[in-house]
């Protein structure tokens, strides 16, 4: 004798009820957690920007953000201006850190003008210009923030990724890799934009030559490294006209 649960009607009713229950459960959890998640993401962006300009809780080896409790106050303390560069137009916008770089990149692909956020921070009497970058790694998106001085010399960098391989590509968010960028020149000797290449066989493992536009690659993470080089080149190049206006 076949069981009650084997009938077609039972199976269909079961499937419908299950979808309804699971669907509403997921929708409820999503709507309950969404506000907190959005706040967390906003704070993370502020922490990223602060990290790139050297406001962080780093110890000797590991990379640490300022704590979430103080992130907002530190952000308003250190970030003096938030600019949005849109073609030739430069406007101040205190919500510039919420600009979605991914959306702006796709707008640019459709031929529209891309909005470029730039954060101007001051620390110990020094001015930092922090710009967001975004690109592709091996498996998924990679992104980061690079802080520069007015000569486009890197003062700090923060990189992050969505799903790079742990131990390999995921190491772009390790101190040893991010710290290598400090002091690197984005412009070459002729003052034109060269970017920074994550280079294999750099023969400069301690990265002492800061004017070669190269940092040492991570073994086994070639594609992620190429992604980092590419996003630095394509995204930071867009800021060159702004930096030129600083020198006038």
């Amino acid at each position: 004798m076949s069981k009650r649960t084997d009938s077609n009607v039972y199976t269909i009713v079961f499937a419908i009820v299950m979808v309804l229950i699971v669907g509403s459960l997921l929708a409820t959890v999503f709507s309950l957690t969404k506000p907190t998640i959005t706040t967390n993401q906003k704070i993370e962006k502020q922490q990223n920007i602060l990290y790139a300009m050297g406001v962080n809780d780093n110890d000797e080896t590991s990379a640490n953000f300022v704590s979430t409790k103080v992130a907002q106050t530190e952000f308003s303390k250190y970030i003096k201006k938030q600019l949005v560069i849109e073609g030739d137009k430069i406007t101040e916008n205190d919500k510039a850190y919420l600009i979605d770089v991914k959306k702006e990149q796709s707008k640019a692909k459709e031929g529209q003008t891309r909005r470029l956020p730039l954060f101007i921070g001051e620390k110990d009497g020094k001015t930092f210009y922090v710009a967001p970058i975004r690109g592709k790694g091996l498996w998924d998106a990679i992104w980061g923030y690079v802080s520069m001085d007015e000569n486009m010399v890197v003062q700090g960098a923060y990189f992050d990724h969505k799903g790079e391989t742990p131990g390999l590509g995921a190491n772009i968010k390790q101190r040893f890799f991010m710290d290598d960028f400090i002091g690197e020149h984005l412009l070459d000797a002729n003052e034109s934009f060269a970017g920074i290449t994550v280079a294999k066989g750099n023969n400069d493992p301690k990265n002492e030559d800061k004017t070669d536009n190269e940092v040492d690659a991570i073994a086994g993470a070639t594609i992620t490294g190429n992604g980092v080089s590419a996003m630095i080149k394509t995204d930071l190049k867009l800021y060159v006209p702004y930096f030129k206006t600083l020198k006038k």
């Binding site: 039972y10 959890v29 999503f30 790079e164 131990g167």
Partner: protein
């Protein structure tokens, strides 16, 4: 009598050795190869799978008498996917830092064959308590192998353990590096994980001949 009966205790201890999900049942190999380049990642993955497998097993076990057999695999998938999404959302809201560390693993949990394997082979036929223990046991067995592989890959590949430089500094040439030791970059690549796993299986079967299948 202790907390667990002999049979119940076996549900936890068997998967650790003679019925290990990776080395004997050959389940969960993909994640064992993919994420074991770091010891920390292995531990995080092991704990995440333990949480999802234990809760999922209990849910499937509670539903076992009402699940229509024709769509049982879909039901199992829905349960594991829903659990993983809920765990992910809750972590993002209340343990944001941890959720970022876990991001790469959360997706992998859904595709982990051990989860579906245990739902199908155990939870559909046993009560919730036994299923819970089975989930814990199998995830522990899986985690044990992940941690062993992760230990050797991180130690030999990067010269570190949990990020700490245990063999010295390869750039400053201190510790073992001072006498000419070099990190083995191959260990960081997935094929070497397969070889380490093969060695574990070899050692296990040579110690316990009853595990060797007859041709």
């Amino acid at each position: 009598m202790g907390l667990l009966s002999k049979k119940d205790a076996a549900l936890i201890t068997d998967p650790l050795a003679d019925n290990n999900p990776i080395t004997i049942q050959v389940l969960g190999i993909c994640s064992a190869l993919a994420i074991t380049a770091e010891l920390k990642a292995s531990i995080v993955m092991a704990l995440s799978v333990m949480a999802v497998l234990a809760i999922g097993n209990v849910v499937i076990s509670l539903m076992r008498n009402i699940i229509p057999s024709k769509i049982r695999i879909i039901v199992q998938l829905v349960v594991v996917a829903a659990l993983v999404i809920i765990v992910d959302l809750v972590l993002k809201a209340f343990a944001y830092e941890l959720s970022k560390t876990l991001s790469v693993f959360v997706g992998l949990i859904i595709t982990n064959c051990i989860i579906m394997g245990r739902f199908e082979a155990f939870a559909l036929a046993n009560g919730p308590w036994k299923s819970f223990l089975d989930g814990i046991g199998n995830a522990a067995g899986y985690g044990l192998i992940l941690i062993i592989v992760g230990f050797f890959r991180e130690l030999l590949g990067s010269g570190t353990l949990l990020g700490l430089k245990v063999l010295g500094d390869p750039i400053e040439k201190t510790g073992l590096y001072a006498i000419g030791y070099e990190n083995n970059g191959f260990m960081l690549l997935s094929p070497m994980a397969l070889i380490v796993l093969g060695i574990i299986i070899w050692i296990q079967r040579s110690r316990n001949k009853s595990l060797i299948e007859e041709n």
